[in-house]
Amino acid sequence: MAAAMKQNKVYEREELASGTDGVAQAVRLADVDVFAAYPIRPYTGVMDRLAKFIADGKFDAEYIIADGEHSQFEIGKHASSVGARAFVGSSGTGWLYAMEALATTATDRLPVVALVGNRALDDPGAFGVEHNDAMLVRDLGWLVVWVSTAQEALDTTLIAYRVAEDPSVFMPCAVAMDGGYLTHSEHIIRVPTKESVSKFLPRYNLGKRVMHPDNPVSIAPQINEDWCMEIRRQNWEAAKRAKEVIRKAYKEFNSVFGSNYTNPFFDEHMTSGAETIVIGMGTVSSAAKVAVNRLREKGEKVGYIKLRWFRPFPTEELRKALSRAKRVAVIDRDFAHGGPDDGGVLYNEVRSALFDAKNKPKVVDFIAGLGGREISIEDVMEVVSVTKKCKADERVHWVGLRERKTGGTHVSMKR
């Protein structure tokens, strides 16, 4: 395999790269036509890197420094409408500033790819990771995928274009990564060659909807109650179709690049025979996997699921994987104040997926790592032990809160 790869020059080199560098490499390799930038920590590194590629003559694209995120994302959307492959990105409050453009990019079915370097929402200011920014587009018709290593960031960005631009999908895709923990941490990555990328990623073709004088169409005219239902339905169907397209894309990705993505939607770590499964998204997987290893050494039947694709949500696959366990611990790096049973976003998505399961495990929620607070190996070990001990109605736990507060079903854990 290795020899064959070398022969076909699948990879051009290895390099030390941060998560945002991984995305920048993918944007360059995908021959993106237009990218628009606006500064906000922690996603900005991707734009710094792309600007340098342009300055060094390593990348040919139109590069626009926008006057704000609303403009930045509108630029991406309208570039995509003329048939140009577009890239944008933001974090936290910047992502929210773009919200109107985010919504219309999805309803216009334009396959823009965006990086969201997860950041806590203001106020008060915090640079650290929280997943609420990306989650705000979860119902709008965006594909949303979390990555947790720089290599995965590179690979997933290429896959994101492939899936988003598939004519049976035509939905924008947000590649989410934990601010700080991945945007700013460096890993060794393998950078593919342009030739191999072009084998995997065909040219973007918007087809009949492209804005060009040869194709005089009117896009997004006023519809009111006449057609809104039907158009929403089309989008709903596209989101359903996306799952199969994602499966196919990973299969081909594996065959072109020799990668080893078995299940596109999530990775399972030591879940076979596990009685307790911890599930989370993003970089918490590093601590979680080590915690699981340590507990397994002690003979505990524990496993971890790293969820990658959040939209489309892999309902059936997760139902199957989780209903084998007795207990599920959800790590929510987000909040949903006043939501069902006061749990986080992921918790309620997981519970909903398990509603129809024959064997329903106990599902416990752990709100953790907000604003960039570290989730340690010990924290995850504690998560497992609380999950085993807690009563069925002790559903939501805050990990590592300074003050101990009890009330209702909430039990916080001491560090």
Partner: protein, 334 residues
């Protein structure tokens, strides 16, 4: 600075209309829209795309020219048209222009001149989207933004904007016994402000779709031929919002210009040229213009006088009358 002579030369390729008889008959904004009778904003649409021709892509910001204009399955647009968000006019033009440039440079589509035009209303373009239009005028893309100004948020039922004239009644600025005048702002000087602040922008003009004949369409042609980002601000009489019989739209536009209230000019590479010079003409009293509109029926003599004094100040005291108020409003310290 480039001389007017030189600028003129560059425009030769623009093939300006010299007579109404040589205006193209072909329409690229045709039937299907549902704007009011006498709507001049609709005329702004029809005329710009006539002047720009079929090799054009257009985005339209939310507003009357979206909602009343472009109903599903009855689009009036013969050229590609796309909705953009209320404050996204400038960004939409950047996006399209950048996309087309990249695709042409990379050989992904045929290399040719495609006009990129956005229109935004006075609220969408003059208020909400001002930052985005500023961003567009700072680029080096060939694009044109038209701020079509019917002096209200017409689509949402005639609310005051920062381009609504002083004192006008709107649904947000009614008149009543306690407050005869609720809208006390003077109209934002939006075209000149954008012209002054954007060194990349070689062409800014004000215009009225109906008068003087061909003036607006020729300005569109100039804006599209000079290269780089450009801006046109039109004043559009709106029967519904201004409250008058639709038959007077043309006349009101003329009166706005002849009274000196709406200065008509173009700024070509920094040089201001009046296309109707209210300094040299006897200005019609502004009262004649105001009295014809229901939105000013609550005016008393002092309101008319205030209006007249502001117009006089603009033409007599401004550093560049109708454009730059330095002498009238801002003064250099001695």
């Amino acid at each position: 600075m480039v001389s007017t002579q030189q600028a003129k030369k560059e425009f030769e390729s623009a093939k300006l209309y010299t007579s109404v008889h040589n205006i193209d008959l072909e329409e690229f904004y045709s039937s299907g829209h549902r704007t009011c009778q006498g709507c001049e904003s609709a005329l702004v649409m029809r005329d710009f795309v006539k002047a720009s021709g079929p090799r054009t892509v257009v985005t339209g910001a939310t507003g009357c020219m979206y909602v009343a204009n472009t109903s599903y399955m009855t689009t009036p647009w013969v050229v590609p048209w796309m909705h953009t968000q209320l404050g996204a006019g400038g960004a939409s033009a950047i996006g399209m222009a950048a996309g087309l440039r990249a695709l042409m440079r990379k050989g992904k589509i045929k290399d040719e001149k495609i006009n990129v035009i956005n229109f935004s209303g006075d609220l969408g373009g003059g208020d909400m989207g001002l930052g985005g239009i500023s961003g567009a005028l700072q680029t080096d893309y060939d694009l044109l933004v038209i701020i079509y100004d019917n002096e209200s948020a017409a689509n949402t039922d005639i609310q005051a904007t920062n381009l609504t004239p002083y004192g006008a009644q709107t649904t947000f600025s009614p008149t009543g016994p306690a407050r005869r005048i609720m809208h006390t702002k003077w109209k934002k000087n939006v075209a000149a402000m954008l012209a002054v602040g954007h060194p990349n922008c070689k062409y800014v003009a004000t215009a009225c779709a109906t008068w003087p004949p061909m003036d607006y369409m020729n300005k569109v042609k100039k804006a599209l031929s000079i290269g780089g980002p450009t801006l046109i601000h039109t004043l559009d009489p709106c029967p519904k919002g201004w409250d008058y019989h639709p038959r007077y739209s043309g006349e009101l536009g003329q009166l706005a210009i002849k009274s000196g209230l709406f200065p008509l000019y173009e700024i070509i590479k920094g040089e201001v040229r009046y296309t109707y010079d209210a300094r040299k003409q006897k200005r019609v009293p502004v009262r004649e213009y105001l009295e014809k509109q229901g939105r000013f029926t609550h005016f008393i003599d002092e309101d008319y006088e205030l209006f007249q004094s502001k117009v006089d100040e603009m033409w007599n005291d401004w550093e560049i009358p109708g454009v730059a108020p330095l002498r009238g409003i801002l003064k250099l310290s001695q």
